[in-house]
Amino acid sequence: MSVYQVAGLTVSIGGRQVVAGIDFSLEAGECVALVGASGSGKSQSCLAPFGISAGIAGGSAKLLGSELVGASEATRRGLRGRHVGFIFQQPMTALTPHLTIGRQLAEAWTQAGAAKPSHRALVEALGRVELPRAEELLDQYPHRLSGGQRQRVMIAAAIAHRPKLLVADEPTTALDAPLRRDVLALLSRLRREEGLALLLVSHDLAAVAEHADRTIVLNEGHMVGPEHPYTLALRAASPRLSDPAPDLPSPGGSLLQVSGVRVEFPRPGWRRGRFLAVDGASLDLAEGEGLALVGGSGSGKSTLARAIARLGPMQAGNVTFRGEPLPSRNAIRPQQRRFIQPVFQDPVASLDPKWQVADIIAEPLRHLTPDRDVRIEALLDEVGLGPEYASRRPAELSGGQAQRVAIARALVCDPQILLLDEATSALDVLVAGRILDLLAELQHRRRLAILFISHDLAVARRLCHRIAVMEEGRIVEEGPAEAIISAPRHPSTQRLVAATH
């Protein structure tokens, strides 16, 4: 008997069908991956049968022979509590904030009816997911843990009651590259050791390929074959290190020089002392050149970039633009701000929800009324949006469209440097690919210099001549992109390269 068998599964939300008939079966120790872009129905098809999403399932989904579709909530609750473990995408919010790790792990341990675990057993459970210092972690609240630690706690809790099936809904999407690889490896190991059936949902075809026994690609709720154009597009969408070197414009004269930047923050809570976020970082950037700041979460790359663009604090260091020192954050004049313009990670959150697109783009142009509408239309066209978008509001835009508006907003003051802070990380693979194409085009056409902050080397390489790797606030290695990728010297760089496909 299969652990989990799905036949003709449909899911509808509010009367609209989002999944149209998918079939697969999953045996103990096997892994099936459901892959697709956002809106493809992959999360719904794995969560709806268990009754923990907004979708209503139809067709058939049998867990250890018991039908889930159409079963009462009490039946489904019993089945998922006894036999299934779930891991979700957002480790930062998926744990209950006011209960300690130990308390939540103990709850998971007993959810299938097991006796209360001993302290020893909980420590071992955290050890199994490769979490060091488990003793201390048990008494901590989730907000004290890093994203990677929380995702390991989630996994420990998901397998604590010895389930037969593990459902992992984009378990690595919110993590940085080295962590992604570690977490996927951990899931594979647990699957082998515990004989778990693993249902893995992801948007990254290449990343799951090596872990899954079978891969199902979903396009708008339909299963499509491996040679389908959508599958090929999905495969091509995420940049790979094995791709040929991109065609980049040749850099011109020196534009930006940064030396000895130090940024510190007071430690949170009642702890004494200050936290050194950026420690003596120096770099320079030429006209039309792309420079990537790459590193794991918390390495200080965003803090450094914000200090350079005068958007964040800076305690020491010098920034000169075309040989002139750039005044500090409080003293800088608007005219000097226009040279460096930022685009942030979360496109919808970085636009004012109450404003129309035209006003968002034209805000720096308030005093330039005569050709305002012409400029807005030209900019919308430049980022690939029609003039009808001018009157929309951010809530009416998709993630990709919102990011295009954010890019148009950055371009309106004719900047010479674009600061892209994880500008494609929150987007769906296919959309992110198209935004990268747009940025490459702008880089050529406008001879824009780009400061590209990313945790993904392969994405960074698409736009950047040089790569600077950051760790714990310091730039530990810097050089031409191809050299860094083919012969990384620093251990931190080596880890990043190894974790990138």
Partner: protein, 304 residues
């Protein structure tokens, strides 16, 4: 935690002093004085009284005298109830008010949280809508309506509870209920709204995925963070209830502190008003501190 306590204590005393000085000045700004009666006193007597109570001194001196005395725990003599010190009056009224207020607060919390949980557990159902409508009504009805209404039903028609006075604990039932109802309504609505927000959060899906019983998801995983708005409302509300509910004490003829609030102000009985203000302000400060400590327990992220 200890740092928070110390910081709060350090600001509490200056806050109290400022509240006292301001209320003293406001009272003196209002026309009339403690010795204005139906029959005017002859000027010699008035002058003697004024000087005996120190009211002929310059204002800053008077403030210094009053605040200094209160700092030593002495509220001084009442200017109107001539045979009593203010401390006597407060000692009579405060225990009644504290009992009434504490019982009402406990009842309001139990009722409000219970109804809030019930409504949130059946969000969107007819029960939910009916309960929330009833809670809106409860908060909207003034106690001088619900008080007599309760008396009419339970004392006069059914005859199961006494009408007014305070001869045994049974006499407290109706005033406590009347006092608790509007507060319970507000708490239920705040708890319901807080729960509705928390129930959409990611960690609730994790708890549901674990196959936990719905009540367990609600009580263990959702309730605590949902109570943050309740805590910020309940602090000042409790201080208000404990220092005497003027209307309820009048309707039910209870010898509490509330009537001194009104009578003291009307009679320009300066020491009495200042005493009541001091107690009220101290309780507000105390309950706000309590609410702050509660936030840290409700949501550990607030501890910083």
């Amino acid at each position: 935690m200890r740092a928070l306590l110390l910081r709060r204590l350090a600001t509490a005393l200056p806050t109290l002093a400022i509240v006292l000085i301001l209320s003293f000045l406001l009272m003196r700004l209002a026309p009339g004085g403690p010795f204005d009666g139906e029959r005017p006193l002859d000027p010699a007597t008035r002058a003697a009284l004024t000087s005996a109570y120190g009211l002929d001194q310059p204002l800053p001196t008077q403030i210094a005298i009053y605040v200094g005395r209160i700092a030593r725990g002495d509220f001084g003599p009442s200017l109107v109830y001539r045979d009593f010190t203010v401390t006597d009056l407060v000692a009579q009224g405060l225990p009644v008010s504290l009992t009434l207020g504490a019982l009402a607060m406990l009842l309001a919390l139990a009722l409000g949280l219970g109804i809030g949980l019930l409504a949130a557990g059946r969000a969107g159902s007819r029960t939910d809508h009916a309960l929330m409508l009833a809670m809106t009504l409860l908060t909207a009805l003034p106690t001088f309506v619900t008080g007599p209404l309760l008396v009419l039903v339970f004392a006069l028609l059914l005859g199961v509870l006494p009408v007014s006075g305070l001869e045994s604990p049974r006499y407290l039932v109706l005033p406590v209920v009347a006092l608790a109802l509007p507060v319970a309504g507000a708490i239920a609505k705040l708890a319901r709204a807080g729960l509705a927000e928390v129930l959409t959060q990611d960690h609730i899906r994790t708890a549901r995925a674990r196959g936990l019983a719905p009540w367990r998801v609600l009580v263990v995983h959702a309730l605590r963070p949902a109570l943050v708005p309740v805590a910020s409302y309940a602090g000042p509300a409790a201080a208000g209830l404990l220092t005497g509910a003027v209307v309820i004490e009048t309707v039910f003829a209870l010898p509490g502190l509330g009537r001194y609030f009104v009578q003291g102000a009307l009679n320009r009985d300066y020491p009495l008003v200042l005493a009541v203000v001091t107690i009220y302000a101290a309780l507000i400060i105390l309950f706000n501190l309590f609410a702050d400590l509660l936030y840290g327990w409700l949501d550990p992220r607030a501890r910083g």
